[in-house]
């Protein structure tokens, strides 16, 4: 992907992470896998890109992390992330912004 593509991806990555977490709690590795799978490999994120985004979202109180252990399947605890009420509200706002942006871009490009 060229530089423009990378920049465009960076612009929406927070929205995508919040969207995924609005459906269910996820751990870091799972987020990388889901983004890759659902985007057909377009959003194949590196750890160095994902975690700083998670830190920003966590510092903004849009998501929160917690440790959980699945006793039936594995003994090692995992660090999960879940969206907060303010994260949900922010996600709605971001989606509206994205809609506005897409509409404007389409109007120009078509």
């Amino acid at each position: 992907m060229n530089e423009v593509g990378k920049q465009l991806k960076k612009g929406v990555i927070e929205i995508l992470i919040l969207e995924l977490l609005s459906g269910e709690k996820m751990y870091g590795y799972q987020l990388i896998q889901e983004l890759d799978l659902r985007s057909g490999g377009v959003f194949r994120m590196k750890e160095g890109t994902l975690y700083p985004v998670l830190y920003r979202l966590e510092d903004s109180k849009y998501i929160e992390s917690f440790w959980e252990q699945d006793m039936e399947r594995r003994s090692v605890p995992r660090k999960y992330y879940r969206i907060t009420p303010s994260g949900l509200a922010a996600l709605q706002g971001m989606k509206r912004e994205l809609d506005t942006l897409f509409t404007a871009i389409r109007a120009i490009l078509t």
Partner: protein
């Protein structure tokens, strides 16, 4: 140390960030690698991730994506460096008391004199509660030419107390002391004690005044004489002032 720990440490070595951020990255990266290693071979995972330098660069790119705060810090640091490299060395504390900086240091290296104003002021000229400098003015002033309520300096002028080479004040102590109460090599005052003393009450090796006590030592043996002399000259003088003088233990000039 495991391959994962080694890899994470190498990544951290290449990252410029505060310790909290480094701890955060170390913890999450270790978790991530351990998680990935359950599904595939750790060597494959590390190869896919790239070299530690590449991973560190990704983190740095993302951490400092919004660089405005970082730039603000750099600009502030640069500004401070610029101030220090110029003619005036200045520090002003962010903490203020009634709008006045708690500490203000302003020193001119050369050129025009700098004036420091703060609760604690240090400068060529300084004005403050505690004032230190070549010419300090304040409640407590320490410096070359000190002006204040309590002053210490080469030339000290103090409303209450002055101490210095030349001291002028209500109570003055110095090489040359001038005051209501004066003690020094040369003392001039209402109550003057010194090598050469001149006053209403004059005590010392060479006293001149209405009430004189010729002595080379003030101590236990002269306590009652000093008290009597001062009380005679100033019958209404409070005890605490008299106690200041009669409590002295000093040698004046050469003892014979």
């Amino acid at each position: 140390m495991s391959k994962i720990d080694n890899y994470v440490n190498e990544v951290l070595d290449c990252i410029i960030a505060d310790n909290d951020m480094k701890r955060r990255i170390a913890s999450d990266l270790t978790l991530q690698l351990n998680e990935a290693a359950r599904a595939e071979d750790i060597d494959d995972v590390l190869e896919r991730m790239g070299t530690p330098k590449e991973v560190a660069k990704e983190f740095m790119d993302s951490i400092y994506e919004n660089k405005s705060e970082l730039f603000d810090e750099i600009i502030a640091e640069r500004k401070q460096e610029a101030v220090f490299s110029k003619r005036v060395l200045e520090y002003k504390s962010k903490t203020t008391v009634m709008g006045i900086p708690l500490v203000h240091i302003k020193l001119s290296r050369y050129g025009k004199p700098a004036v420091a104003k703060g609760i604690i002021a240090i400068g060529t000229f300084s004005v403050g509660v505690i004032s230190i400098g070549a010419i300090p003015v304040g409640l407590i002033s320490i410096g070359g030419l000190a002006l204040g309520v309590i002053s210490l300096g080469g030339l000290a002028v103090g409303l209450l107390l002055a101490m210095g080479g030349v001291a002028i004040g209500a109570l003055a102590l110095g090489g040359i002391a001038v005051g209501l109460g004066a003690m020094g090599g040369v003392a001039v005052g209402e109550i003057a004690i010194g090598g050469v003393s001149r006053g209403t009450v004059a005590i010392g090796a060479n006293p001149t005044g209405q009430y004189r006590l010729l002595t080379h030592h003030i101590g236990a043996e002269t306590r009652s004489q000093v008290e009597e002399l001062i009380r005679t000259a100033f019958p209404k003088l409070p005890d605490w002032i008299i106690n200041l003088f009669k409590g002295l233990d000093i040698t004046i000039g050469e003892t014979r």
